[in-house]
């Protein structure tokens, strides 16, 4: 059953290359991956499977082809009628991460190390208990929590606040999700259960689904805390990056917003111009506030609009006869794709 989840990333009309899907899932941010990820409308899934095993993924895709759920075309793979049916059935019967885009904003690993510790420590705090076995957690999580706690002036309020936040947050989901989610945590006089144990009690959920739910809800809870004001925001802030862009790209993009040209940015940052152009393309793809007209001039637009009609995905650069550089062509393609998108 494991391989069927990849059907979610394929379309019945658009051929898609599995390698792009895999690279998006494990957050390999080349401009080409991001561009195709945008065309496939799967950019929300960036970084959802950071430890995806390449070989296993390829084997699973081959199995989907062998089972005739996917059909090979020159431009990639497309869902067959049976594939469409299987995809729907999978969606109807399986837990699927509902807010995948959050995995771009929050450092999943760091947060999932910290959350069980946070809940246990505050739970024991509410009982004034210092004698307990701390849940397995890396030192960096313990340091992060200690540092945050030292900022809290009145710790006695924490249990009530955290409890209320969890109640409000979990109230937004089917009740059973909340039950599964909380069963995975350890608190005062209450040891959590393993996914294996929960699946015995709630057989509708497989072990894999329980772990997906745990990741999904944990990440959404982080996002929920981050959007609110106050203490908990400060806990998560060090593990969050709301800009969506990688660090270096973010710097280039800020300079671009300050009206520096690509050339100037390159000089100032002592980077190659080609690198800066990649940064700008990445920004154009991932952000919705990119001002294309700072790069594409009025005249460029006339040429581009006269040359290209129809779906941007089908345009080819050679149609321009070198009248405009590839960088501008790609930007125009991104802009127009987004308008359709």
């Amino acid at each position: 059953m494991g391989e069927k989840k990849w059907l979610l990333f394929f379309s019945e009309t658009q051929s898609r290359r599995p390698i792009v899907i895999r690279q998006i899932l494990c957050n390999k941010r080349t401009v080409s991956n991001l561009y195709w990820g945008m065309q496939y409308h799967i950019l929300d899934w960036l970084n959802v499977e950071p430890t995806l095993d390449e070989k296993k993924f390829d084997l699973q895709i081959n199995k989907l082809i062998k089972n005739k759920y996917l059909l090979a075309t020159p431009k990639g793979l497309v869902l067959t009628a049976e594939g469409i049916f299987q995809k729907k059935e999978y969606l109807d019967n399986t837990y699927v991460i509902s807010k995948p885009y959050i995995f771009q904003y929050i450092n999943e690993k760091r947060w999932l190390e910290l959350l069980p510790l946070l809940i246990q420590v505050i739970s024991e705090l509410s009982y004034h208990n210092k004698k307990y076995y701390v849940v397995n957690s890396p030192l960096r999580a313990q340091f992060a929590l200690k540092k945050w706690l030292s900022l809290v002036k009145d710790r006695s309020e924490l249990p009530q606040v955290l409890k209320q936040k969890l109640l409000t947050f979990l109230g937004e989901f089917p009740h059973e999700y909340g039950n599964i989610f909380m069963a995975l945590f350890t608190g005062h006089a209450n040891i959590g259960q393993t996914a294996e144990q929960i699946t015995v009690l709630i057989p509708q959920f497989s072990k894999e689904e329980i772990l997906l739910l745990w990741r999904d809800l944990s990440m959404q809870f982080a996002f929920f805390l981050l959007k609110e004001d106050g203490l908990f925001r400060q806990l998560i802030a060090p593990f969050s990056n709301l800009s969506q862009l990688s660090k270096s790209t973010e710097i280039s993009y800020q300079l671009f917003k300050e009206n520096l040209t690509a050339n100037k940015i390159a000089t100032q940052r002592n980077l190659k111009i080609s690198t800066i152009k990649e940064h700008l393309l990445e920004s154009a793809i991932l952000r919705n506030d990119f001002s294309y007209s700072k790069i594409i001039t009025h005249d460029d637009y006339s040429i581009l609009m006269n040359t290209f009609k129809g779906n941007p995905i089908d345009w080819e650069y050679r149609q321009l006869d070198n009248k405009i550089e590839f960088f501008k062509f790609r930007l125009f393609q991104i802009e127009r794709s987004k308008n359709i998108g």
């Binding site: 701390v134 249990p159 409890k163 009740h175 599964i180 608190g187 009690l201």
Partner: protein, 480 residues
């Protein structure tokens, strides 16, 4: 310090009113400034010896320990007992964390070190600046090149100790034959130092020793299902593979109404925590484990330890069954075996050592993180500049040793006389008690399982649904 003062400290810090045998001798030795080798079987509170000494001396204690899981368990227990100034310096740490810890190293009262850290110059330098009250070498038998658990990094300890100006030292091990004990002293202390040994018998008279031979795995499983239904829990069943631990855990869950979970290195650290603590809180009846389980667990009421596969030698067997009956109540150790298991264990033992082919084709590498695998052992010998032919001889000898140890284990199984007597002889000890019905099963006799039966006490109710999250939140967070 006299013994009543010492007891006051014990009461004050740990709430116990009496020491276990061996503990006070060791602590008294240390307080008199005598470096000591303590040979105490598992379950006799080895770590209390250095924890209490550290608290009395009010100086930094460094503990070198080879197993991360053991180290974490001990730190957990120290923290549980209210000691918060504890830290572990291991290769698991990120560079940044390591820097941060080292910058504040003098804040810690207990510093655990994994042996590969001894190769780190900065760690050495920082530690050498501290005023060390006590250096502890846990699992000290790892220093013996002829022992099954030899760790080359342990041979660096002597130099490290010298660097720290030969502080007061406590070497601890659960089992050591006389040869191994001598090896430890030789590799740790200098010749002109006076050495003291405190040895406590490996014998645990409240554990009944039994062996059950079957002709096939099918029969073995049938017998296992039959006895775990009758035996009083909690219990541990040991396996030599993760796969089998999972498989039999499933089988027993299907065939009994007991609460059972597997435990091995392939579980996530979250699952390992849950499983271990559920077991400690009696929310599980049986753990199906590999030897990764139980190093540091401090559960007093384990009623039985069953070995589904053969252990590698009598040393590990004694350690593993030692997890039963720590509260002194009558407990049971059964070794299950079929003739085919001998081959399996032989393969496991022999595969863990490099053979001539491995040695001839060995490519020395730089420093490698995991010290336990055979490449690293080889790396050590190559670094010493020992000729290949000699290395081959060394490992030939070690394979022979392993094989001999397995043969001793088989002799234990086959011995027509008292098993306890055999075991004790192996560890150069005399049996103090006489064989009787409470001692062991003699070959050919059946094990009287009824003797260890569960007195139909009321069982804790088995959880059959996941709690409502609102209830959990009410329990987790006590609010007014």
């Amino acid at each position: 310090m006299d013994s009543s003062q010492l007891k006051n400290f014990l009461k004050h810090y740990y709430g116990y009113s009496d020491f276990k045998r061996g503990q006070s001798e060791i602590i008294e030795n240390l307080l008199e400034g005598k470096s000591t080798l303590g040979i105490l079987p598992t379950g006799t509170g080895k770590s209390l010896c250095y924890q209490l000494t550290g608290k009395i001396l009010k100086k930094t204690v460094i503990v070198i320990s080879p197993l991360l899981s053991l180290m974490h368990d001990q730190i957990e227990q120290l923290k549980y007992a209210g000691e918060k100034k504890v830290i572990a310096l291991t290769s698991e740490l990120s560079f940044v964390d390591k820097q941060m810890i080292l910058a504040n190293i003098s804040d810690y009262s207990f510093i655990y070190l994994s042996p590969e850290m001894l190769k780190n110059d900065l760690v050495e330098k920082k530690l050498a600046m501290l005023s060390i009250g006590l250096l502890v070498v846990d699992e000290a038998h790892c220093i013996s090149q002829w022992g099954p658990d030899f760790r080359p990094d342990y041979l660096r300890i002597k130099k490290f100790r010298h660097l720290l100006h030969n502080p007061l030292t406590l070497a601890l091990t659960a089992t050591a034959t006389n040869n191994v004990a001598q090896d430890i002293q030789h590799n740790l202390f200098s010749n002109d130092e006076k050495k003291f040994v405190v040895r406590r018998s490996v014998d645990r008279p409240n554990i009944f020793l039994g062996v059950h031979e079957t002709i096939s795995n099918y029969e073995k499983n049938t017998y296992l299902i039959d006895i775990v239904k009758k035996l009083k829990s909690p219990g541990i069943i040991y396996f030599s593979s993760k796969k089998q631990a999972n498989k039999i855990s499933e089988l027993l869950k299907a065939e009994t109404s007991l609460r059972i979970a597997p435990y091995h290195a392939a579980l996530s650290s979250r699952d390992r925590y849950m499983t271990q603590h559920q077991f400690m809180e009696n929310q599980l009846d049986i753990i199906c484990a590999t030897s990764a389980f139980g190093m540091g667990i401090n559960k007093k009421d384990v009623r039985f330890v069953i070995h589904y596969h053969l252990p590698s030698d009598l040393e590990s067997y004694v350690q593993e069954i030692g997890r039963a009956g720590r509260n002194g109540e009558r407990s049971l150790a059964i070794l299950l075996y079929t003739k085919a298991d001998i081959n399996l264990q032989e393969q496991l033992s022999i595969n863990s050592l490099p053979d001539d082919f491995d040695i001839e084709n060995f490519q020395p590498k730089g420093t490698v993180a995991n010290v336990s695998d055979k490449e690293n052992v080889l790396q050590y010998y190559f670094e010493q500049g020992i000729p290949t032919s000699e290395i081959k001889q060394i490992f030939l000898k070690r394979r022979q040793e392993k094989y001999n140890k397995l043969m001793y284990l088989l002799e234990y199984i086959e011995t027509p006389s008292c098993k306890r007597k055999f075991l004790l002889q192996y560890f150069d000890e005399e049996m103090q008690t006489k064989h009787g019905v409470d001692c062991c099963q003699l070959k050919g006799e059946p094990i009287n399982i009824d003797y260890f039966k569960c007195e139909k006490e009321k069982k804790e109710q088995i959880i059959n649904q996941v709690s409502d999250y609102e209830d959990i939140l009410d329990i987790f967070f006590k609010t007014l």
